[in-house]
């Protein structure tokens, strides 16, 4: 145990019985000024985004800009190919906007979805092979277990955190060490 006390902590993980106690615990700890807080749940929970102050619009923005870029690339590709390699058939216009719309739409969709999902993975720093929280014995996404973690910062007060958590009636409290460097 002496080893664990000396090692750098990653944070303290507390387990709750359901989404509602978890949400209340997050809000209460926020009010007391603890942070940063991260939660771990087997499925998304309504209201949690506000509780953990998640406000990023990175993913929707990536979908928007990816889609705009895809549309430009799609139309541009067709117009460009028709200009460098003109096929004069029946006197039809080279840049035939209605005929180009389908591929423009498809490339808009393709680039939008690819950019959005890529932004989701990058924003989440995934893929990642290991994480300190996987060390916790109780941690499992296959069960209905709801966790919150208070991450250790520079002025981490383990005693204060433990006291505050204990009043919230968690199932368990676990210290988690940071990954070995």
């Amino acid at each position: 145990m002496a080893d664990r006390e000396n090692s750098v902590p990653w944070g303290v993980l507390a387990e709750f019985t359901g989404p509602k106690p978890l949400l209340e615990a997050v809000r209460s700890l926020r009010q007391q000024g603890f942070g940063p807080i991260e939660t771990f749940t087997p499925f998304p929970i309504d209201g949690l985004e506000e509780a953990i102050w998640f406000r990023s619009r990175l993913v929707p923005a990536a979908f928007l800009f990816g889609g705009a870029a895809g549309a430009v690339i799609g139309f541009g590709m067709q117009a460009w190919v028709n200009l460098i390699f003109p096929l004069w058939i029946g006197g039809r216009p080279l840049i035939a906007i209605p005929a180009f719309m389908l591929i423009t739409f498809e490339l808009m969709v393709l680039c939008s979805v690819a950019a959005g999902i890529l932004a989701m993975l990058i924003g989440n720093r995934l893929p990642r092979l290991n994480h300190p929280v996987f060390e916790a014995e109780r941690f499992s996404l296959a069960e209905e277990r709801y966790f919150l973690a208070i991450l250790a910062g520079a002025d981490f007060d383990r005693h204060g955190v433990g006291k505050a958590l204990a009043t919230l009636d968690p199932v368990s409290i676990t210290d988690i060490a940071a990954e070995a460097a």
Binding site: G18, P19, K20, E38, T39, F40, T41, P42, F43, P44, I45, D46, G47, L48, A51, I52, F54, S56, L58, V59, P60, F63, M77, Q78, V81, F85, L87, R92, A99, F100, L102, I103, F105, E106, L107, V109, L110, S112, V113, A114, G116, I117, A119, M120, L121, G123, N124, L126, P127, R128, L129, N130, H131, F134, F139, S140, L141, A142, E143, E144
Partner: protein, 436 residues
Amino acid sequence: MSTLLPGEQVYRAPTAFPARLAWWLLFAPSFLLTILLVIAIAMVFTRGTGIWGNNIPVAWGFPISNYIWWLGIGHAGTLISAMLLLLNQGWRNSLNRFAEAMTLFAVTCGALYPIFHLGRPWRFYWMAPYPNVMDTQPQFKSPLTWDFWAVLTYLIVSTLFWYIGTIPDLAAARDKATKRRWQVFFGLLALGWRGAGRHWARWRQAYWITAGIAVPLVVSVHSEIAMLFAAGPVPGWNSTIFPPYFVLGAAFSGFAVVSMIAVVLRHMLRLEQLVTAHHLSMLGCLTLACGMMTAFGYVAEAFTALYAGGRELETLYDRLTGPYAWSFWGAVILNFVPLQLLWLERIRRAPVPLFLIGLSVAVGMWMERYMLLVSSLSRDWLESSAGLFHATFWDWALYAGLIGFFLTAFLLFVRFLPVISVFEVRERAVEGTLHG
């Protein structure tokens, strides 16, 4: 575990598969058919498309009608997954994952057909524009080129949508697994997912927006396939009803196949708690609704022919009484007669009748695609360009082989991956307690 959580058996299924014998009994013939597929492809590659029945005037034949059939089946998976998610239909959570897997494999089977049909399949990349010394580029005003981009986009987007939707369940399967090799297998696939609040927030944004984009994508893809027909000046094809008619027919055949898969899967993996009679009933409703709208397409098509007269009317008459009348009447009877039983809730909730009606629709829709394609091409404007199409052994071998490939891929999915979106089922169950 003292109490069994919903979906527990889904996470356990890969590591302790409950129906090994049934799985092998299904897998063995599917795998044999896949071997037949390899032989059929090898024959096409070495002998050329002459081994098939298609020739001028019916240059398309099996490859294109089967291509449309496969892609149509695929669309139901996306619609269940995306459209019903956006409409907040919670019951879809028991069906979406395996319906999406069905989409992936059906679209793969479909997408292979036009490539084999090229005659020189190894040059399929000529469909994409790239700098080359031959001074040739694709014709972007042709529906055949639209096709390439539409199917490519659809395949990639439905793969991504399926995969990011599965990540949380792969992570749960990883946490459930006790053997090292399963932990590594699921751990790598789950990309280190740990259900963090911020991760869920971004995941939700990505999942919902992708769903919102996937619905118009489905409509565009099958409308575009209808353009292959409707944009050509061939009697029996040149009709504005085709895009919606094709999209609805696609959804119709797809829901029918999802019903069949749901019936088999829930029995094989004992998922009656998750895929309940209610789910079967809802699938029956979807099949019935899309079927009746497809029936309207038949009527609208006949009306167009009656209104246009001339060659259009002759084509209609040809379809009703000509050499391919079996496919027209087969389509009408198999698609719409047993379908009427689905008006009865008792039938919709019963697995065996639902399976049989689904099978009837899958065959009926295949006949419809065949009839639309072959009857028009075999007799167009000029008497000199009339000629019948008869499928050869290799036509049937390739088709049977692709069915085998589809089943093989699907059975591997059933064997090794979570077949139901368990986290969404649980989320739905808990949501009641959160807001109530």
